[in-house]
């Protein structure tokens, strides 16, 4: 089933391919080839001005977001709202060298799920999450940890791409390449590799919706005894309006309430009992499965890994 979903994702990604990404196999620029070949093969020679990349005025997506969230467009409701968002985003970008620690309790109908996340502020892709709901398990990268059996299931490699399959003498299927790396350590970017700021998934989603102008700051109010900002989905976003309250004092997320779409989708409440930063001095123990569970047995067998995935974290119906 997961494979089908993955195929669906691949299809969806390909369907989203912009027209410009389609290669015109007949494309050929003889003038460029001639111009290039006129250049001597010599190191450190500059490129002729005719082919130099112009430096035009512009901004990055990040910069655009900063302008937008700093109170640029009018859809955030004025300076105080902009201040609330800026404050929230500030909190959601924990300081370098720290580990973000989040504990949330999600209630929907009769089901309560508790999640705990440890995420590197410097390398947000490096994270460990514990889930306690219908099942209890932890994830880090592609690896899973089953506390009931004290076992880490770590898939050896991702499947090769279609292009790999057609390539003669393709890269070796390996499991040895990860040898020596802590299990459950996601591929961490190189120093300086830009990445999304650390934050739990709901908070990331709010950040994106704010950046897209699809959420608005409704105002400042008392929320269960705490001075808070209320940030809501816009009414025209296509589903019942849900609201996130963040502390006015420090921007920490407090609670999210979703009324649900209809009878098939019950109201949902998420609370964050903990949203804090920890010193980054013990990242292996906090962020990797082997660091957190040094006595655990590590299984790489793909069949056992897939079975554990289905058992512990089955795809939602």
């Amino acid at each position: 089933m997961a494979h089908d979903v993955t195929d669906d994702i691949a299809r969806r990604l390909r369907a989203a391919r912009p027209p410009m990404a389609h290669a015109d196999e007949n494309a050929f620029d003889p003038e460029l080839l001639a111009r290039v070949r006129e250049q001597p093969i010599a190191p450190r020679r500059g490129v002729p001005r005719a082919v130099a990349v112009p430096v035009a005025a512009g901004v990055t997506l990040t910069a655009t977001a900063v302008v937008m969230l700093g109170g640029g467009p009018g859809d955030v409701g004025g300076p105080s709202s902009a201040s609330a968002i800026t404050q929230a985003l500030h909190w959601l970008s924990p300081p370098h060298g720290t580990v973000l620690h989040v504990r949330s309790v999600e209630t929907q109908g009769a089901q309560t799920t508790t999640r705990e996340l440890w995420q590197s502020a410097d390398h947000p892709a490096s994270a460990r999450m514990r889930t306690e709901g219908a099942n209890a398990f932890e994830t880090a990268g592609d690896a899973l940890y089953d506390p009931a059996t004290d076992t880490i299931y770590d898939p050896p490699v991702a499947p090769p791409t279609a292009a790999d399959a057609t390539k003669a003498g393709g890269t070796k299927a390996n499991g040895a390449e990860k040898k020596g790396a802590p299990v459950g350590t996601p591929g961490i970017g190189k120093p300086g590799d830009p990445a999304m700021p650390a934050g739990d998934p709901v908070v990331d989603k709010v950040r994106i919706l704010l950046q897209q102008g699809r959420m608005v700051v409704k105002g400042r109010e008392n929320h269960d005894g705490t001075d808070a900002w209320a940030i809501s989905l816009k009414p025209d976003a296509g589903r019942p309006v849900w609201t996130l309250w963040v502390s006015a004092a420090d921007g920490k997320p407090l609670e999210l309430r979703d009324p649900g779409r209809d009878a098939s989708e019950q109201p949902q409440v998420i609370r964050w009992p903990a949203y804090e930063v920890l010193p980054g001095s013990d990242t292996d123990r906090l962020l990797t499965l082997t660091g957190a569970h040094p006595t655990a047995r590590v299984v790489h067998d793909p069949a056992q890994v897939a079975a554990a995935q289905r058992r512990l974290d089955p795809p939602k119906p």
Binding site: V53, T60, P201
Partner: protein
């Protein structure tokens, strides 16, 4: 493979990559810069991953252009003239709103890893070469990106649904 053969074999896809990541003018300039570099550094081009190497050079040329813009942007900001221009992030080109939001939740490098594979049919070796990482690192990134996309796009979840997704 001599240079002209390499040029003929790769130019359409390098151009397609550049055009999908930047404006038409910037793409043309970046491709020209890329082949100028390739001509000078012919001996450095890895066999069996030539396309990935060329796309990697194009990627860096575009990144350098972006850095230049950022510097210019800082000056404009001081003058309160901050201009707006679309960034070269592949997610900017995705019209599927839900998919774009899911892509934006990935790290930029993870996003590139999965988009390069889906849009340009590159091999793992080529994508790894383009991104300047090892094939093993690429496979880990791509797997993680697929896993996160799968979680973000699983029905009945919608972009607006404020639901936790296990990473």
């Amino acid at each position: 493979m001599d240079f002209e053969e390499l040029y003929r074999a790769t130019y359409p896809r390098v151009l397609a990559y550049a055009r999908s990541m930047a404006s038409h003018v910037d793409a043309e300039d970046a491709v020209a810069e890329t082949y100028a570099i390739a001509w000078r550094r012919q001996r450095d081009i890895p066999r069996s991953a030539e396309l990935g190497w060329l796309i990697g050079v194009t990627r860096r040329v575009l990144a350098n252009a972006r850095r230049g813009r950022r510097r210019a942007g800082a000056l404009h900001a001081l003058l309160d003239l901050q201009p707006r221009a679309p960034g070269p992030d592949p997610a900017d080109r995705v019209e599927d709103v839900e998919l774009r939001a899911a892509l934006m939740a990935l790290s930029p490098l993870d996003r590139e890893a999965i988009v390069l594979t889906a849009w340009f049919d590159l091999s793992s070796a080529d994508v790894a070469q383009a991104l300047g990482i090892t094939p093993a690192a690429f496979r880990m990134r791509a797997a993680r990106a697929r896993r996160r996309l799968r979680a973000a796009l699983q029905p009945p979840t919608t972009q607006e649904r404020p639901q936790w997704h296990t990473t």
